[in-house]
Structures are given as C-alpha cells and as structure tokens.
Symmetry: C2
Subunit: 401 residues, 2 copies
C-alpha cells in the first residue's frame, strides 16, 4: 500500500501509466502541472500521439488560507465517489473517473481539453444553446437518484454516512453565508463598493434570510449536492457538457446546486456590458443568458415532475400535489442561493476573477452594484418567487456608462 | 465480554446487582417483569427494603409485528446514549441511566414508581400544573444543545453519526405518516369510523401536507429528537417530570417532539368527556389541558428565544429576527405533527388503548370524530398558524351525547 506523498510530474506520469490502458506500455509520456484551485494539484499527462488524461491529487491543506482551514484527504474519496455517483444518474454529463487511489488521494480522470471551462466561455461571449437544459437534466437526475423519492430511509442514511464531508462543507458555509455578509478581513472588496457592502452587513432583514438559507444548507439534506456548481465547475461545448470538481459534495437542499448555477449565470449577465465593448453584442449575450436561465427553470420543473411521476419509489411521496409543492419549494430555495452566490462573487473571499479584468473603475462599480442589488433582492424575496418571469423581471436593465 | 441472551428474571437481578451499589452485597433481590412495549423487556428489581431499580433490555425484533420490522440491538445503545445526552441538557427532566451494557443491549435505570405514567394520570383526570412548562424546558434545552445554534458543523455531523437510527425511524415514519393515511391492513379502526377514515385516505390535499411533514421528518435534521414524546413516554407527579424511552431517537425537525406531545394532550382533551361521566369535571379537565397546551406554547417560545440570546454560538444564527422566524417555523411544524399524532392515535396501527375502554359506541365514535377532525385541520392549516389562541380555537366544543 503506497503512502501519501505529494506527486511530482514524474509521479503523475507513473500513476497515469499504471492505471490506464490508454497509453500503451512503451509510450513516451509527459506531464504538465496546471490549475490552482487552492486544494489540489492537477497534471495533464500526454503520450506522443497527444492522447491525454488528467491526474488530480488532493493536498492536505487549503493553499493560501494558512492553517485556518485544514483539510483531510478523505475529501478526495468523497470527490471520486461523488463523481461516480453523479455519473450513474447522468452518465453523459459528468467527467469520467478512470481510477481512484485512496492512499495517494489521487484520481485519474478523462481529459476535457476539447471543451471549454464555462466561466471562460461566457466571459468570451460564447453561447452554448443546450446549457440550461443539460444542467437541468444533470441536477434533476442526480438529485432525484439520491433523494427521498428514490431511496428508502436506510439507503439514504448509509449514503449520508458515505458522503459526510464536514470540512469542505464548513468552508462552503463560511464562503457563501458568513464572509460576504459580515465585515470579514478575508473579503476582497473594491473601496468604491464599501458603502453598498456596509449596507448589506447592517441589513437585519437580509441577515435573517441568509441565516435561514445557511440553516437549510446545514439541516435540509434532501439530496446529494455538488456544492460548488457555478460556471467554474462546468466544461462545455456547443453540444457537450461535463460537470467536474466534486470536493464540496455532501447532502443538502435540492435547490443549492441550481441556485449556485443560476447565480453564476446572473453574474455573467451583469458582467456582459463591461466585458463586451460592442453594446449590441453585450445585449445579445444578456439575451442569451436570460433565455438559458428561463430554459433551465422550465426544464428543471418539467423534468423533475416527470421523473417523479415515472420513478418515485415511496407511495407517500407519489402524491402529485406534494411533488408540485416540493418543486416550488426547491425553486424558492434556488432563488435564495442564487442571491448568496451573486453577492459572494462580488465581495466574498474568492470573488470572481473576471471582475478584476474590468479596467474602468466606473464600469466595475456599476456591474458590481447591479450584481449586489440583484443578489439582495433574490435573498430578501426568495420566498415570494412563483414564476420564472417574475424572477427574470428583476434582472438589471439599462446600459452601463 | 458477555454475549447477548434474553434475560430471565434471575439475569436481571444479577445485572442490577453487578452494576449498582444501591443494593449492597447480601441483599435479597427480587425481579418482576412488567411493561410490554413491543420492542423491549423491562424488569423491576427490588431489595428487601423496597429499594428498586429498572432493568430494560432490547429484544432483537418487534413483538407482535412478525418479521416485518426486524430490529438491530444497536437501538439500545442509541437509547442509552440519547437519555444521557438529554440528561446533560435537562438533568432533572430525564430518567437516569445508571449503567449500560452494549453486548447485552441492557441498561440499568432509576425506578420512577413514585411517579405516574402521564397517559394513565390524564386518563384518570389528574392534573399536574407544571406539565406544560416542564416539557417546554425539556424540549428547548435538549433541542438547543443538539442544534446548529449550539454545535458547529463537524460536531453536529459526528452526533448525527452517533445517533443514526434507521430502523426505528422507518417504523416511526410508517406508524405516523404512512399507515393512518392509507387503507393499511395494520390499522385498527372501529367500523363506524370507516367513512371518516376513507375521507382521510382520499383527500389529496391532506396527503400532500402529510408527505411534506414526512419529508421534513426525514430530511430536516435540525436537532436530536426523542421521536416518541407522547403521554406514554413521560412520568410525572405534581412537581416532577421525567422523560423515558428514547429508542426512537434520531436527528429530525425541532417541532416533532413538541407536536407529538401537544397532539397527545389534544387527544386527552377530546377523550375527557367520554372518560369522565361527571361533565363538569370533564369540562374542568379540558380547561386544564387547554391551559397546559397554551403554557407549553408560550414557554417554548419564550425559553427558546432566551436560550438563543444567551448561548447561541454561531454569529450567523445570532440574528434575532432569524431566531423569531425559526421558532415560528418550529411552531408551524409542531402543529402539523400534532395533527398526525392525533390521527395515528385514533386509526393507526397502535391506536390509543384508552379508546377501547370507552364502552358506549356512540360516545367512542364522537370523541374519535372530534380527534380526527381536529387532526385534519391541524395538518391542512399548519402553515397558517401564527398564534396559540388561533390553534386553541380549533379544539372541539360542545358536549358529547
């Protein structure tokens, strides 16, 4: 049994070669380290024919955060098993895990270099027309398979043990609900945004809603959630979509992943006028995102009710009225979590790196204000949301300066 | 390490003598088996001076239910540890566990023979004036200590593992949410009640609300709940109260225990006119129960907010507006669970044995109807309840025939 050691490029090559038939015995392999997500190291291992695989290894700490958030390597097991769990429910929509080694906390993954990271693609103004429906399919299928609609109590409890993931969930809770809503030293905030941030920190009504969303995050284990499903955890092209990175997986509210996804699309909506100098193209990108949010919402609702009708295993939860009320509740949660994600991305500890690329301070201020204002509204009014058109009517209008 | 065997009276004596200093070395001990709660055997062990202790041993099956609900002995560990957990938060209000043996699935408990089982006392028309406030204190203190207000995420997760109790929770779910709301062969129903029972089984709106309450029972682990806290799990006198029997303990919604308790007081309210031939005394007993329900509700609200103000450990959940909204949500849950408990006690698998003692069929029908009608209203309208006076206005009025 190998002991944990931090991989060098040579180790990554050996690991990939040992656990994959892909390269053949005598191929010349190279490995390049890339990516920096604070918690892992990632290598792309290639043979001379450019066939490649990814080696991802968990680090025993969170980089750049000192010892504030120590991390056990068990999250690597959780990530591998979560990706496998999700892939079972939505095979085409999840990165494939080819091998996982518990002691080395390392996994071998298919390479997605023919796809683009969604956050990058959206920043560049690209448009994937199936985005909303593919994401809805992923969340509905994976969510349903791990929910009370599908699992009996004993099976669900045993999955809850399998995916106990307290450290990453504590980080999520801090990043999403604590830091952005208090004057935390970790927050990254443009000075010009301070007045608005302070307004957020002092709004008791808003804080109460955030506390309720955080409480649900901790004590509403409706299903297995990815936990970090924003545009940086998705690879896509015009016809393919793959979810990656599941180290924040755990049981939580059904609406969480959908909320993070919609929140991140809404951020791109707010950003579009600042990223795209041609304002008619910016408007076109906003229309695209508007339509994808609508598509997601409608497909989520439709597909969720359909899978419940077809596959619900518990007669008690087979009641269609209950299913409709359940999905309406999920969509209200979604709205609240989308609001938290928007605010986190603008004034949180790991705010969106895209924001820093906007050179004009006035422009940066305006799109940030749009995102924060929208985020607050989503949080404050999430319990009143009853239709997607209502939600979309809150998107900011008017051209930036 | 002793292997599990079913205790004889002699084994119970030996177990008590071995694990307690109470009796002295040469006392003459006797043991009497008593109680029959389908899942355990219980002995009272006495010395010649009438000092007594209780030996409770878990059985590896649920008596009278064939093999439909097999039970692991681990629930005995859960029960002992749960009673110890509750006693830490509310020392005077829980039966004391003197010793617990994991292999024999047996525990030694203080004897509560100087108190009366609450269900018996209420059936006899007795009144304990501190009942409502003592129960509120128990539920608030134990509930708070195991909640997100008090535990950080890692501590709560580890308690959730400690108290994983899938089999008993499955039984609870079946008994409380499935059986009474469907035409299940296990239900015990007076023939005269069939029309009303059928009405319940066919009411889609009601079923949807019950499904939502059952979903929260499964997927809203706000705190450690007793899980069976009706008048048969409480011993009392004028000044003392002790909670017993924690084999159904697990993490669940904060409002569950309170709901089962209030539901069982409401059942006694409905039963009073049938149990007490003197109708002015019956009315007096109803007034007593009315006042205790009100006292419980008010004290619960007051004490919960007080302990939150004084002891909340998480700044996010320190928001007072959130705490008020949380307690309002708990009280709405309470109302729904009280409704389920009422209906379960009248037409469920283990319906209230008191019902069978009412000789007059007309009288039995009428009190049963009162309880079922009230139960339905509590379930259907639980989300609209905003005050205790509103809730109490739903109690049946008018004398029975």
């Amino acid at each position: 049994m190998p002991q944990y050691r931090r991989f060098t490029a040579e180790d990554a090559i050996q690991f990939a070669n040992q656990h994959s038939e892909l390269f053949g015995e005598h191929s010349k392999l190279t490995a390049v380290s890339f990516g920096d997500n604070h918690m892992n190291q990632v290598f792309r291992v290639k043979n001379q024919f450019n066939t490649s695989l990814i080696v991802k290894q968990a680090l025993p700490f969170a980089r750049g955060l000192s010892d504030r958030w120590p991390l056990t390597l068990d999250r690597s097991r959780i990530e591998a098993q979560a990706l496998q769990n999700f892939a079972k429910a939505a095979p085409l929509l999840v990165v494939e895990v080819l091998h996982y080694d518990v002691d080395l906390a390392a996994m071998l993954l298919e390479d997605l270099d023919h796809l683009t990271l969604l956050s990058t693609a959206l920043t560049e103004g690209r448009q994937f027309q199936q985005l909303g429906s593919q994401l809805a399919e992923f969340i509905v299928n994976a969510g349903f398979a791990n929910s009370d609609f599908s699992l009996d109590l004993a099976a669900k409890k045993s999955k809850q043990i399998q995916f106990l993931n307290p450290e990453p969930l504590q980080i999520s809770k801090d990043l999403l609900f604590n830091d952005p809503f208090s004057n935390n030293e970790r927050n990254q905030i443009d000075a010009s945004l301070y007045p608005l941030a302070q307004h957020i920190w002092l709004d008791e009504q808003l804080q109460a809603k955030v506390a309720a969303l955080a409480a649900s995050f901790r004590s509403k284990p409706q299903t297995l959630v990815h936990g970090d499903l924003n545009s940086s955890s998705i690879f896509a092209t015009a016809d393919q979509l793959k979810v990656i990175d599941a180290e924040f997986t755990g049981f939580g509210p059904f609406g969480l992943d959908a909320g993070l996804f919609i929140g991140s699309l809404m951020l791109h909506y707010c950003l579009a006028p600042a990223l795209q100098p041609d304002q008619s193209k910016a408007k076109d990108q906003q229309n695209y995102l508007h339509n994808q949010i609508k598509l997601f919402w409608q497909q989520f609702q439709r597909q969720f009710l359909q899978i419940c009708r077809q596959q619900c295993r518990d007669p008690l939860f087979g009641n269609e009225l209950y299913q409709q009320q359940f999905v309406a509740d999920v969509l209200r949660d979604l709205t609240g979590y989308a609001g938290c994600e928007l605010i986190r991305q603008v004034i949180g500890t790991f705010r969106s790196p895209v924001l820093s690329t906007i050179k004009s301070p006035a422009m940066r201020l305006q799109v940030s204000q749009h995102a924060l204002t929208l985020g607050q509204r989503l949080i404050l009014q999430h319990q009143q949301v009853s239709s997607i058109d209502q939600l979309l009517s809150w998107l900011p209008t008017g051209s930036p300066q």
